[in-house]
Symmetry: C2
Subunit: 326 residues, 2 copies
């Protein structure tokens, strides 16, 4: 890249097991990516240094044209204060009150912004994905947990205290196990990929029902994952479908509750489980339709997200663009 | 009033048993009110004619200065399409697809707007009440049912299809009776005044517990109302407090779910139950605090609404101002 050739944004997607970085152009297109694995239990300061080193390497890959980089955006799997750039709470990484933006800006001298990873995936879908041009959109990522990204009139809605769009922590009933947050009844304990796997194991352990899942996981139920359950469900396995019916019921409840509050134009489903595509989408739509609160009630358009695992990087990069434009 | 003296707005609050109208100035101050009782089961067209006649009388009371009336706003206890001015669904009045705005405008020739009554009470609190100047506010009315009014960045949020801010229809668990909407688990079946009364009666019927509520209602449990239950609870009656604890628990869940999605700056509690004031507020705050999804989590400011039963008229009038300014 030549100096001043074009402007780009760096997007950092900080996951539980890796740091993924992408150089993204103004239009939200990824030009190239870098990534490194992270160690479990790594100290926050070490992990931040890993991020900085990887950004540094990426800048070198760009031909040292730092001037072309307008901003750095970082998505973290936790709760952040967008104003101060602090990561307030990040259970999976064991982070609490980490001044991430200050640390990165001090080291690199490039404007840096941080937000929740699901919020940023929602921003990516809004900028270049399935919710583009919608007046209001809610993105729901369904994976290990459940996260959300809300955009109304082109504006990211993260809340007054930055603790909003935590769709996975909506309380929807009583469950047989508690959420990582310490409470009982969170949507993500009913409707995430983890919830699906947990409930499938429970059904296997407590029922005499035969299931093809056992063969599919080589007899080791610890190897059961969402993909296997969906695969056996499509083949007609009864137990797999029982487990699936439960998460679909609760996805319907979660989505209908979002409609009851916000009634967005579009709701996009992303994250690992959304790989099940139309098979899942059809079931979720039926679940939502069964929960209308009056006859003939119009509901949001529900769709599968488009950007897959790239949403994290694109959204983080677009956060830089979004913030600089404000 | 003299012609051109000042501009006013007419606010109409359409309840289950009466039509209340107020003439409201630019600052949201009520100048005078008129009201008539409605008959149960009255035909929609007759009821609309009653509204028109009452507005007409109000215009006469204003000295026939129609020119001074900038707009008419009407709040209805149901779901409306703000764009077309149609009342889509209004269970308590038995209305479905009533072109309310067209009917009123054709008869009176004054710009007319319609919205949900709870939404408008929320607008009133934002214009002249406790949520004034907040960046985001959710008003929750807790009475026969539970309704909501959401304002973000000064903009009413009624949703893409106009079915949003229906906080009472958030699904939060399984209940021992169904909601009027036909579903099971709606917040308003756990946490409205009706829910409080229902659950108190259930406790009385199913328990041997002595309660001072029996004396307070003259031995006729059909006369139990929210006021009596609160009154006996403050005196320390055990059964009254058991019933109250349940609605407070679910108000906490409903409020925390709103925070998990929107995280507004302020949440204001209105409607009949809010008359319990600080006694209720303190309990609700404790309930919300017990449901934080991480330690030290900041939560919205929770407060009792200010305008009481006038919120309906003021909000309806302010809808006219709000719409004309857009």
């Amino acid at each position: 890249m030549e100096k001043g050739e074009e402007f780009v944004y760096i997007g950092v997607d900080l996951g539980g097991t890796s740091i993924n970085i992408g150089v993204v152009d103004e239009k939200g297109k990824i030009k190239f990516t870098n990534s490194i694995a992270t160690e479990k239990g790594e100290k926050p300061t070490d992990l931040v240094m890993d991020i900085i080193k990887l950004i540094d390497r990426t800048i070198k890959d760009l031909g040292n044209c730092k001037e072309n980089i307008k901003a750095i955006g970082i998505g973290v799997p936790g709760i952040v204060n967008q104003e101060t750039g602090m990561v307030i709470n990040c259970v999976n990484l064991g982070w609490q009150d980490i001044p991430l933006v200050d640390m990165v800006e001090n080291e690199l001298g490039i404007p840096t912004f941080v937000d929740n990873d699901a919020t940023l995936a929602g921003l990516a879908e809004y900028e270049v994905g399935v919710t583009k041009n919608s007046s209001s959109a809610v993105f729901i990522t369904i994976g290990t947990g459940i996260g959300g990204g809300i955009i109304i009139d082109g504006k990211l809605q993260v809340g007054f205290n930055g603790v909003g769009s935590e769709i996975g922590h909506m309380l929807v009933g009583e469950n047989y196990y508690d959420c990582n947050c310490g409470r009982n009844g969170c949507l993500e304990t009913f409707a995430s990929a983890t919830a699906l796997v947990n409930y499938t194991k429970k059904l296997i352990n407590e029922n005499e029902l035969k299931t093809s899942i056992i063969d599919a996981c080589g007899g080791n139920i610890d190897k059961i994952n969402g993909k296997i359950i969906f695969q056996e469900a499509t083949k007609g396995d009864k137990l797999a479908n029982m487990a699936l019916d439960r998460i679909v019921k609760y996805l319907g409840i979660g989505i209908m509750n979002i409609i009851a509050i916000l009634d967005p134009e579009v709701i996009a489903l992303g994250g690992g489980i959304s790989n099940a595509g139309d098979f899942l989408l059809q079931k979720v739509k039926e679940s939502v339709d069964s929960l209308k609160y009056f006859e003939g009630m119009p509901v949001s358009k529900i769709t599968i997200a488009k950007l897959g695992s790239e949403a994290g990087i694109i959204g983080a990069a677009m956060l830089g663009k979004y913030k600089l434009m404000k």
